[in-house]
Point group: C2
Chain length 243, copies 2
């Protein structure tokens, strides 16, 4: 499993992904699930992947090769005219990789993968997409300002309740860490370290990027502090009256 979140704020985009992959409970490894392509002053593209590791690695490798060899037939990720076209390139590639992997007559479920794609290309706004294994995609708007892929449920309630479009990246980091901490506490197949990245709108540079390890002091503060804060929040509500 996996847990990745991409969020759109007024100030820009925030991304966080875990790094655990598993083929069964007894075969666990650490793989990066967050990938970036950028051209300074012109575009920043961030991609996060969940699902079959062979599929996601093939997609990322093909995107890399395409971004390195501009003479390829498909448009390079560094030359797409807009984020929408970038999402189409990734979506078509996902569909193609999955179709190539599935044995004839079998379901494609085991080979599926989902992606969160975000970034900004000069001339348009920062945009955030979720790309399905079928290759189609949806875009985040003000009603649904974040996407989650992988083990999304445990960490969703806090995102729904604490999200505010005006948040600073300092607060966004806290929000992401609380959401990940709830997930890490509930599902063994999501694991540290975490990759965090912030993109500030109109900067066209990767603003801040950090790998959060399990001994990161801030993460520890949040993890312990959130348990206590939750308990006191719970304690602050009135008890029920049995009657």
């Amino acid at each position: 499993m996996t847990y990745c979140v991409g969020i759109k704020f007024d100030r820009g985009l925030a991304f966080m992904s875990d790094t655990r992959t598993n083929a069964g409970i007894d075969s666990i490894s650490t793989f990066r699930k967050m990938f970036t392509w950028s051209k300074s002053g012109e575009r920043v593209i961030v991609l996060m992947a969940a699902g079959n590791l062979a599929t996601t690695q093939a997609v990322v490798s093909l995107l890399d090769e395409r971004s390195k060899a501009p003479s390829e037939r498909m448009p390079s990720l560094l030359e797409t005219p807009s984020m929408f076209q970038t999402a189409r390139v990734v979506g078509n590639l996902v569909k193609e990789v999955i179709a190539n992997s599935v044995p004839v007559g079998q379901s494609q479920d085991a080979f599926g993968a989902s992606f969160i794609l975000g970034g900004q290309i000069k001339g348009s706004e920062p945009r955030l997409f979720m790309i399905y294994p079928e290759g189609n995609f949806i875009e985040a708007g003000s009603d649904t300002p974040f996407f989650q892929i992988g083990e999304a449920k445990y960490g969703k309630p806090i995102l729904i309740r604490a999200y505010d479009p005006k948040m600073s990246f300092e607060e966004a980091a806290k929000l992401l860490m609380v959401s990940f901490d709830s997930t890490l506490k509930s599902n063994l197949s999501v694991g540290m370290p975490l990759d965090m990245l912030f993109y500030e709108r109109d900067s066209f540079e990767i603003g801040f990027r950090k790998r959060i390890t399990s001994d990161d002091p801030y993460f520890r503060t949040i993890s312990d502090g959130w348990s206590n804060a939750l308990r006191s929040a719970f304690g602050s509500l009135p008890d029920f009256t049995l009657s």
Copy 2:
């Protein structure tokens, strides 16, 4: 979908279930999912069901008929010597009903159902079981003092963090409502009203039972209060430092 929780406290057992069933998103109905059998001063048995409605209704109806006609071959639910034997009776019945429903050569997945069974029979402790569609079951202990069936993920983090075996039923009601509120806010297929029941150990009577409707003032207080409490808990944690 469904959401049901059964929790073991020092003081006794607490149960809560929602009432929404759906066959597709456009076919929604309200059905009770919590059922009780009791013999005053001797036993209280509570059963909550999630899964295929035809399966769960058949199981409950058969249990009812068996408890009403003691001459049946299978032991009646009001005559089992222990909660463990009660769980076996229910488990065998679940397996039988599912086996009867599945067309030859098809998977039983669509006909599956899970149950939480709790209660106390004179001469032994209060006990809490989770019964699987296969008819086997597990029992709650001090390490895992609660079971959830149905849409369990959204409401689990608060159970993990705020549960305390020494809680009063007044606090238990609050815990259950917060857990249900998180689930209701995230999944449309879990819906009000909620059924709540408390069993006080060694009372051998159904202690407190209430149907919580969506306009219940306490539930409204908890639902609104929890959003605010979560936001202030979140606000009380230190922000991240981008460096």
